[in-house]
């Protein structure tokens, strides 16, 4: 029987400091990784995202969360509405350890189903019938925003951890520590790159430096200790005289920002006028 999958990546990623969907994971972004895993099991994947997020090209249908402020229930509803099959596995984008076997097992129950891990129902590693779209609408209208209400309305099968392979699949990443811990465990040799421009390059003599994945602050501290002539940090913050770009995209200043394998940190002089 054909199935669908839904990936929710509309969350704010506020504790992570950068969009979780775009965190590097095994050589690509986390959302690409999750979509690719799902595609080995299901026929169609729907990615629900917010309008602010620029996702890479995906092997999936991408829909915009119509009411992102309402939380995951609204995103799930929009995902179900766009799914092609009657049954869909739904996951958040920050599930780096999601396995095909886990998804297959969950979908094998053939009905609404959710794992219970350490006593907690995991509604973002769960199976939802597409027919729940109208129920979701009704719950939203009634202000009952928890995904659990939707599962309960479908009289879901609760699945114990010992019935499932790779329960790790339910693990999500909410903080830089959780992400970096996962990166280090997954690939103990994970490296990021630092590129130096302008004065930092001429005074240090270095153009690019390989560093261990870590928070931005940890990485700057390491570069600073290898090249003491640089001034990258001031009072625990990123020094005012430098600009930091993550992968040539956003400029960042949050020292707790996680920098993963394959990320590139550009360090530029802050005085850009001319």
């Amino acid at each position: 029987m054909a199935h669908s999958a839904i990936v929710l990546c509309g969350g704010l990623s506020s504790r992570m400091g950068r969009p979780k969907a775009l965190l590097p994971w095994r050589g690509r972004t986390l959302v690409e990784h999750v979509v690719a895993t799902l595609r080995t099991v299901v026929d169609d994947v729907v990615v629900v995202t917010s309008s602010e997020l620029d996702l890479p090209r995906l092997d999936a249908v991408v829909v915009r969360d119509r009411e992102p402020k309402l939380g995951p229930l609204s995103g799930l509803r929009d995902g179900l509405a766009a799914a092609s099959n009657d049954l869909a596995f739904a996951t958040a984008t920050d599930a780096p350890f999601l396995s095909a076997g886990f998804v297959r097992t969950m979908l094998g129950f053939g009905r609404a189903a959710a794992p219970v891990v350490e006593g907690f129902v995991q509604p973002l590693s769960a199976v939802y019938p597409r027919a729940l779209t109208t129920t979701a609408d009704a719950l939203i209208a009634a202000g009952r925003m928890r995904l659990l209400h939707l599962l309960e309305a479908a009289d879901f099968r609760s699945v114990a951890a010992d019935e499932l392979p790779e329960v790790e699949s339910t693990r999500n990443l909410n903080t830089p520590d959780e992400y970096l811990g996962a990166v280090r465990r997954d690939d103990p040799g994970a490296r990021a790159q630092v590129e130096l421009f302008g004065l930092m390059r001429t005074t240090s003599g270095a153009a690019t430096i390989d560093v261990d994945a870590g928070t931005l602050g940890e990485i700057l501290d390491r570069v600073q200790s290898d090249f003491p002539m640089l001034r990258l940090r001031a009072a625990g913050e990123v020094a005012k005289n430098i600009l930091v770009s993550l992968n040539g995209q956003a400029f960042v200043r949050d020292a707790s920002l996680p920098v993963g394998a394959g990320d590139c940190i550009l360090l530029m002089d802050a005085a850009v006028g001319g």
């Binding site: 302008g198 004065l199 001429t202 005289n241 530029m268 002089d269 802050a270 005085a271 006028g273």
Partner: protein, 585 residues
């Protein structure tokens, strides 16, 4: 009797047609409301330039405006503004230049010099009188050297004589670069103006000025200016390239494959010869590089970008030689590079015959031809907008200009808040009157997705620039201030004796921006002027870290509207009556 210090309270108006000059008093209220530099200059232009005048007609006014801080020990204060109606844009052009001309010009006992009329024959203005000159046809540098015994000189080169619409005025090795002020002077058949004098303005509280000056100098040695001191502005190039913000081959790309060869990181170790600075400057951002056969030139990011990547040229010797040639001929490097890059793209598309991207010899030959208005150079001397109108075939869509002025080295699609700054700028595409790129280089806005919020913040950067340009202080100092308005108020209080506050200066800055806008409206500005070439609205950047970026027309319109609202203007950008009343023109 004058009750305030820092100003002379008068300007000198000289009629080049009759050869007579007069001192005209300046009200304290005007000086306090518009300060000096671009503020005073724009006010004088309103007053002295007849509405609708041809910028190259004798009646057009050419204003040299000094400022309250000129002559004080405050670092970077030796600056002046040159203001006129631009022959390139038909709008206001307010360019800054630096050094001894500011100091000695102000010592003539005036806050500004206004030139009107035109000489009957090529002349120089020395000690308040016109003299016929045989310097016509010589470089500005030669003219400055020849007249140096009489004082400090500002002169035009051959390009100004030939009314190239982006000709410069040069003094002390610096240039009032943008908008074709050299053509205005050339149209007046004035090769040079020489200033000298002994009249100093008093300071209201000299010890306080000295204390502020000491502190400011100290701070000017700190990390906020290190890049300018150690590397110069060309330090931008490689980083811009990495962000795909380096305009390349007439803005067809944001990355240049030979960028490294032109970068300060690579050039400085082998070519840096010397460092220089403007008078009264403790920063010293001028970096002199060697090129060719024992020659040398001051390198700036804008020169290298415009004559290098923009024209597809990666040979540093060729780029530095072209930069030096622009200085000698009196050509604005940005507009020269932009117009030639535009012509190169036209040639590649088969619209005209001419050199193509990467042709360094062709670039050098065109610079000569432009300055002398020969062959294709005669057309390109008109700037890219007029050239595109003549060439047709939709070439206006990729003429790299706003209001007729060529864009500086900030790719708008990769720096979208700056794009807004370009679109609304009163003197056309310009990175000195709007500092909006600072927002793009920050975690405040998304540089690849301009927004109304970013547009509102961009207005603030324009205000701060207007204040610095009126005081005048060098913008390379801006990073050392924690509160520009409060610290500027303290300086002005000590210099002038006025009880000026930070809040007053916030209002003053916005007033100066509105004053320039009012001039443009008088000269025919319409809301349609505040836009960008179609290329930026419809073609995504092809590669690099800004790949795919473009500025949809609606996004730009939303930003322009948000900017106008932030200024308290109409959504379209017209000035409401209240603003005119406040300007009290």
């Amino acid at each position: 009797m004058k009750t305030f210090a820092g100003f002379h309270g008068r300007y000198w108006r000289f009629d080049l047609g009759t050869g007579t000059g007069a001192y005209i008093p300046l009200d304290e209220a005007v000086l306090r409301r518009f300060l000096g530099g671009v503020g005073l200059g724009a006010w004088l232009l309103h007053r002295e330039s007849p509405a609708g005048v041809d910028p190259l007609a004798p009646e057009a006014a050419l204003v040299f405006a000094f400022s309250p801080l000129v002559g004080t020990p405050l670092t970077t204060s030796a600056k002046f503004a040159v203001v006129a109606k631009s022959p390139l844009t038909g709008m206001i052009s307010d360019s800054l230049s630096s050094s001894h001309f500011a100091i000695h010009g102000k010592r003539m006992g005036v806050d500004a010099i206004v030139l009107v009329g035109a000489c009957a024959q090529p002349s120089v203005l020395v000690d308040g009188a016109l003299r016929p000159t045989d310097l016509w046809g010589r470089s500005s540098e030669e003219a400055c050297a020849a007249l140096a015994p009489y004082g400090t000189v500002a002169a035009i080169g051959v390009a100004g004589e030939h009314l190239v619409r982006y000709a410069t005025i040069s003094n002390d090795g610096r240039h009032a670069g943008r908008g074709g002020l050299g053509a205005v002077m050339g149209a007046k058949k004035l090769k040079a103006i020489v200033v000298r004098g002994e009249v100093r303005t008093e300071l209201s509280d000299a010890p306080a000025v000295l204390a502020i000056a000491k502190d400011l100098s100290k701070r000017s040695f700190g990390p906020a200016t290190a890049k300018y001191r150690e590397l110069g502005t060309v330090g931008n190039l490689l980083a811009f390239n990495r962000l795909a913000a380096l305009p390349t081959r007439n803005f067809q790309s944001g990355t240049f494959d030979q960028a490294a060869a032109l970068s300060a990181e690579q050039l400085a170790p082998t070519r840096a010869k010397a460092k220089r600075s403007c008078a009264s400057c403790t920063i010293g951002c001028e970096h002199i590089y060697a090129f060719g056969d024992a020659k040398s030139v001051r390198v700036e990011y804008e020169n290298v970008f415009a004559l290098g990547p923009l024209c597809g040229i990666g040979d540093p010797d060729a780029v530095l030689a072209a930069s030096k040639r622009c200085d000698d001929l009196g050509l604005d490097t940005i507009s020269a590079g932009g117009t030639i890059a535009f012509a190169m793209e036209c040639a590649e598309r088969g619209l005209i015959a001419g050199p193509r991207f990467g042709d360094a010899a062709g670039l050098m030959a065109l610079l000569e031809d432009i300055a002398h208005r020969r062959g294709l150079g005669a057309l390109l001397a008109e700037g890219s907008r007029r050239a595109a109108e003549a060439i047709g075939s939709g070439s206006i869509d990729f003429a790299p200009q706003v209001k007729g002025m060529e864009l500086p080295g900030y790719e708008p699609r990769a720096l979208q808040t700056m794009a807004l700054g370009f679109a609304v700028g009163t003197r056309g595409a310009d990175h000195n009157r709007s500092g909006a790129y600072e927002l793009d280089f920050s975690d405040t806005v998304d540089r690849l997705k301009g927004s109304p919020e970013a547009a509102r913040l961009a207005a603030g950067t324009e205000d701060r620039a207007a204040l610095m340009d009126a005081l005048i202080l060098c913008k390379f100092l801006r990073g050392v201030f924690t509160d520009l308005y409060a610290e500027s108020a303290a300086m002005l209080r000590a210099v002038t004796g006025w009880d000026v506050t930070a809040a007053e200066l916030v209002a003053t800055s916005a007033r100066i921006v509105a004053l320039k806008k009012a001039f443009n409206i008088r000269e025919g500005w319409t809301p349609a002027s505040d836009t960008l070439p179609k290329r930026f609205l419809s073609e995504g950047l092809p590669d690099g870290a800004s790949k795919g970026a473009l500025i949809p027309r609606e996004r730009l319109q939303d930003m322009v509207r948000a900017y106008n609202r932030a200024r308290g203007w109409t959504d379209d950008g017209w000035l409401p009556d209240t603003v005119y009343e406040e300007l009290a023109l």
